[in-house]
Symmetry: C2
Subunit: 283 residues, 2 copies
């Protein structure tokens, strides 16, 4: 791990930059210092950049609108949400027009509609073999989980298909000072551990995880950049840094979010970022 | 593992018998065949028995009433619920009269009151350092989990005490044919994995688990029996059988519940029961 005084020391070393949003470019108070200047600098030297964000409660268009309103120069072309990977994933699993169970917000249902499928609430239908877990809100938690678990066990016991697609694998997120909230990864965790307990282990494609740190998000970034010489700038070890390292990208940990410098020394090498920097300002 | 034609072959080999309830003595339709006859036989040959059941949504008195109404000869002296272990556990952790956070039913709150403490709902107070996770219902799930997680992180970050007491470690339970429901263990699982992600690992007493397969339940059975020459009769590998084996009791798997004979061969030796029997009938 190399400690940088400024991220500007390495802006010419890569074919493109990948940024996490929360704790890197913005926080709950708004823009973080240096964020817009760094993105302008990258534009001026011809280095493309993308935002990679775990989230599937909003469409990409709504996500872009939110960050543009904050003053960040993003468009639908350079924002990759984990929810937006759903369409390709469903194309590989099913025919268009099929019913898909959804645990999530109206925005999550819209992602499934945008992917050419028919979203159904899990407590209203059992007639599907793919369940998208997109969010923790806007459904009655325990009855919905009971229905999901019962359907999964019933279908697996009968030798039928049942696939969970998790569009946001984060277990929890920072909601503001001293406040945290569970998210879709925690919902999927319950199903995963219950099914492991019942069946001993799960086949690798029983639960497909789309966001960071899993490969589909980074694969999409590589596809859009047309290069693997990319660097991920993030604030979280187990999503941003681990994901980039595992995929073969380089990584920068920036200390403006959830991880401080003092937390890095005890980490395994596979979890250490390529670079560390205190903030995104030029100096 | 020895396969028995009848459990009556071994009734004289032990100082006492421990029974799981669901899938062993009863199921959703009522009494299982041979259950009352076996308990009468044990009484007639002077062998004491206890019911060991993971549950903390009812008091012991209500649990006894339920099983007596079904025709089983239990009293408060020979029913051990995981919820009933709470009182001793809290005596080791706190002074009487203290406020204790509770996630659970009114029955769960009553268990805390019976233990001489003041139960408070987690969304109404932050003024406690012990959280009892007793049940998955009767509270607004996501806001309650968010409050629990935020409180845990805030207290741990400030170097203060924070202990979770899980009175029912089961992840899920059978609700009836093809229907399953998540329970308190799944609630605690979310907190446990979020805290592990944030802190790398947890000190052993951060989350105290009282029910099967954990030692407190079996320790209480040994205390009441005044002997370690006991055998646990159960239908679940990871609670009844693993718990008894780990504690040093012998174990009988009976095939009237969640585990069939065909599921045993692939298990590690530490998970195999001492005996297998198809049912509790004499022949």
């Amino acid at each position: 791990m190399q400690e940088l005084k400024s991220i500007y020391e390495i802006t010419k070393n890569f074919d493109g930059f990948l940024f996490d949003a929360y704790g890197v470019l913005v926080d709950e108070q708004g823009l973080l210092e240096g964020a817009t200047e760094l993105l302008s600098h990258l534009e001026s030297i011809g280095k493309p950049f993308w935002m990679l964000t775990n989230g599937s409660s909003k469409t990409v268009a709504d996500t872009v609108k939110r960050y543009r309103n904050m003053g960040l120069p993003f468009s639908v072309d350079n924002v990759i949400t984990s929810g937006a990977l759903l369409s390709d994933c469903l194309d590989q699993l099913t025919e268009p027009g099929q019913a898909i169970g959804v645990l999530g917000t109206e925005g999550s249902h819209q992602l499934v509609r945008d992917a050419g499928r028919c979203p159904v609430a899990i407590t209203e239908s059992k007639d599907f073999d793919i369940l998208v877990i997109a969010n923790q809100t806007d459904y009655d938690f325990v009855p919905a989980l009971d229905a999901a678990l019962s359907l999964a066990i019933d279908r697996i016991d009968r030798g039928l298909n049942f696939t969970v697609v998790l569009t946001n694998p984060d277990l929890f997120y920072p909601k503001g000072e001293n406040r945290f909230g569970i998210t879709a990864g925690s919902v999927s965790l319950i199903l995963e551990e219950c099914l492991k307990l019942r069946y001993g282990s799960l086949p690798p494609n029983r639960i497909i995880k789309l966001g960071k740190p899993f490969p589909p998000m980074f694969r999409e970034a590589e596809r859009r950049a047309g290069s693997k010489r990319l660097v991920m700038v993030g604030d979280q070890i187990y999503t941003d840094i681990k994901g980039a390292n595992d995929y073969g990208f380089q990584s920068v940990l920036v200390a403006t979010g959830l991880t401080g410098r003092e937390m890095l020394d005890s980490l395994d090498d596979s979890l250490k970022p390529s670079y560390f920097v205190n903030h995104l300002k030029e100096s």
